[in-house]
Symmetry: C2
Subunit: 192 residues, 2 copies
């Protein structure tokens, strides 16, 4: 998605520790016109996949997943990062390791909202080592649902998580794939 | 909003402890067609308020705030519940008490995304005692921005937070106001 690469180049900022800050348009402030465009593009990529549900993890994936769900005309579900008082009854859970915060956290979703007949599209803002998506795949598998694939706003290609998932047969579509970045330049992987 | 009251009556579930579970359409699974309708209604209510930015708190307010921002044609900003590695530089913070979890938490937003010239519409999924909205008002005030008001999906009128804010001169619009609820019935406050 040409527009995503342009936004990263004009508004993104590389912070120490390999963090790409895109807070001005994707994550903490969200450019809502651009958000709609992301939803349209994700829906275009997966229009023939028979998606019945979009699944993400709180909280930075929620807006993109909602936009994708709107365009695909299906519900969006977000896994919570801990069991809260609003998730009662039967649940699916998985443990995810966060490299950013160097901690493990549990993701949880009510079994009411992921069902055997579902065809699930995973959506997230970032894909780095892929641990969050692997956790979501685990929830889909526990539910006995089918995985349509994953749509990600920005993939850090150099961290390898996307390619590992692709090698395992998961369809991963990223609106931009960063091959390398430092404080002076950002290089993207060419995509069709 | 007639449709909101109908959704609450048909899909909502009152849990012990005064919790209204609306996980099937608003909070953890989101009905994205209905989400769009909420955005349209919030934009209609505040169309003449000169809103330049929508502000919410992660994570259950994000989808509604994004939908409202899309329809108003303005960016959406979400305050984070703790300072993360992706919020660098100057910030505004406020402490909010959660009655649900009986803890205090800090909300934080980068000062890059709330500015003096902004006219800010607060958006959230629930309004009970109003502590979260008061925290957001505090961030708006710290930024020297103007408050357009608050739009909420579901107000628990019997907890008084909405009326306290209205008495202080804040324009609060709720898509449904619950006056009383128990496990057999839910009663709404009539609205024009």
């Amino acid at each position: 998605m040409q527009l995503m690469e342009e936004k990263i180049l004009t508004e993104g900022k590389v912070l120490p520790g390999g963090i790409l800050k895109v807070g001005s348009f994707l994550n903490q402030q969200i450019d809502t016109a651009f958000l709609k465009e992301m939803g349209v593009e994700i829906a275009r990529l997966f229009q023939d996949a028979g998606v019945t549900k979009v699944l993400t993890i709180e909280s930075s994936g929620i807006a993109i997943a909602a936009a994708a769900g709107m365009e695909l005309g299906v519900p969006m579900v977000f896994a919570k990062k801990h069991k809260s008082s609003n998730v009662d009854g039967s649940t699916y859970t998985s443990v995810v390791h966060s490299y950013t915060h160097n901690t493990d956290y549990t993701i949880v979703v009510s079994s009411d909202y992921l069902c055997k007949g579902d065809v699930v599209l995973l959506v997230d803002d970032f894909l780095a080592n892929g641990k969050a998506l692997i956790g979501l795949c685990d929830l889909v598998e526990q539910a006995g649902a089918k995985l349509a694939g994953a749509a990600v706003a920005i993939e850090k290609g150099f961290q390898g998580g996307g390619d590992t998932l692709r090698a395992q047969g998961v369809r991963v579509e990223s609106l931009a794939i960063i091959e390398s970045m430092n404080d002076v330049s950002i290089a993207f992987r060419p995509q069709n």
